[in-house]
Amino acid sequence: MSEKLISVENLSAGTKHNQILYNISFDIFAGEILCLLGQSGSGKTMTASAILNMMPENVAKTSGQILYGEKEFHNGIYGSYISTIMQNPASCFGSVFTIGQQFEDILKANNKEYTNEKMCKMLEMVSLSNPYDILNSYPHQLSGGMLQRVMIAVALSLESRVVIADEPTSDLDVLGQKEILDLILKLKNKNNAVLMITHNLSVVKHVADRIIVMENGHIVDNFYKDELYNNERHPYTQKLIDANESQYINKWNINFGAYNANM
């Protein structure tokens, strides 16, 4: 049994009038990619912000607790323990400083080595060519996919135990999505884990080890990737699978599903 990095126990949360999460419990183990799958409004992003202790002001935790390793929430959690990759990387970088300056600040704040060589090496690891140019450019000069890679490079160099990726691919085209997913696979190793939030089953099939399906604030299904087709699934999960499969059917007689399975 590998190490439990984060465990969410009986988490409920909501605004004054509206409950958003109902008794959410799950664990994230070292060395796995866990996917939270659900439609928009199912509470998956709220779960992530609860783990990050960054819930919106009008939302309050009503019950349950979140353990990071053995401890409850403490301030040293950001950076070394948890880092994030967002859907819209452009909004995560300030616009008046270069990528290099911002990267350096993040590394400094987390007591990591912050030489240019180290940063370049990190950027090369996420297959960005010309890392020096990128360090000297401003966020608006880079495309969405490139910024997303810089985010991943930051997460990589912080060596955090858990990376939370909130819809990291939704704003990219399919090729960009695949490239980012391949990098996210790289983030995972024996010692740390990735929590990925997405509405796209194709993305899940590509990276996930374990899948949690959420519907209207409840966890309805929790299974390993191999069980996706084999076992009988919860009707909601089945609905998601069917919706995904139906898109492969077309009058051209090309079975995209077959290609997808190969990946």
Partner: protein, 251 residues
């Protein structure tokens, strides 16, 4: 019905003092859309798909080449003369939130194109709008709701209803499905397939997702850096060896 020949477009960038940079967005694009067929454009972001769409609609001028829609060259027409063209060509944008005025109700939004071409009384208009809402499988009691009260999927359905309102022959879908989540995406795909049959509409689909394009279209063109890299139709099937096709075959 729509014939595009040798369309090229270059953007010039740079201020008054610096040297101007030129980027070629489209290079010699030619294609034809026949009556009753649908055509799809596949390519990465920045491959020139959206620029091509804007040129077809006459929102931007091509540097060279001609676009003939139902016998008329759209770029030779003044804005007021284009009305007849738009009567037969409508568009659904990627982001439903930005493509509809947030201060308007569903009724006002769907009425706008109808009012431009026909004169109806309010009661007739309400019936027309209700029929349109039914045909995109929406509840008719949302008719007086503000557009911002609806969910993303519902908003996109309203956008489709607006495009259908004046019964065009061609509807352009500019990444119309990419921002929706999977279940809603497949529902709207199905809706579009049905509507295409029912009203005999040709679609021009622009997307980076080959599944969407292959589901809706009879002709498919692969674009890469503003050039056509592959051109297939449903009768002859796809050349599996084509590199542009293989590249996009991700999910």
């Amino acid at each position: 019905m729509l014939i595009c020949e040798n369309i090229s477009k270059t953007y010039k960038k740079g201020s008054f003092f610096s040297k101007k940079e030129e980027t070629k967005v489209l290079n010699n694009i030619s294609f034809q859309l026949q009556e009753g067929r649908s055509i799809g454009f596949v390519g990465r972001n920045g491959a020139g798909k959206s620029t091509l769409m804007k040129i077809i609609l006459g929102l931007e001028r091509a540097d060279s080449g001609s676009i003939i829609f139902m016998g008329q060259n759209i770029h030779n027409l003044k804005y007021s003369q284009r009305k007849e063209i738009y009567k037969n060509m409508q568009i659904v944008f990627q982001d439903p939130q930005s493509s509809m005025n947030p201060n308007m109700t569903v009724f006002q939004i769907i009425c706008e194109p109808v009012n431009n071409y026909y004169k109806y009384s309010i009661d007739e208009l309400r019936n027309i709008v209700k029929d349109l809402l039914k045909s995109v499988e929406l509840d008719t009691n949302i008719i007086d709701k503000n557009i911002t009260m609806l969910s993303g999927g519902q908003q996109q359905r309203v956008a489709i209803a607006r495009a259908l309102a004046i019964k065009p022959k061609v509807i352009i879908l500019d990444e119309a499905l990419s921002n929706l989540d999977m279940v809603i995406q497949s529902q709207i795909l199905k809706l579009l397939e049905d509507l295409k049959e029912k009203y005999n509409i040709s679609l021009i689909v622009i997307s980076h997702d080959i599944r969407v394009v292959f589901k809706l279209c009879d002709d498919i063109i692969f674009l890469e850096n503003g050039e056509i890299k592959g051109n297939f139709n449903v009768e002859n099937g796809v050349d599996m060896e084509n590199t542009a096709f293989q590249k996009m075959l991700v999910f």
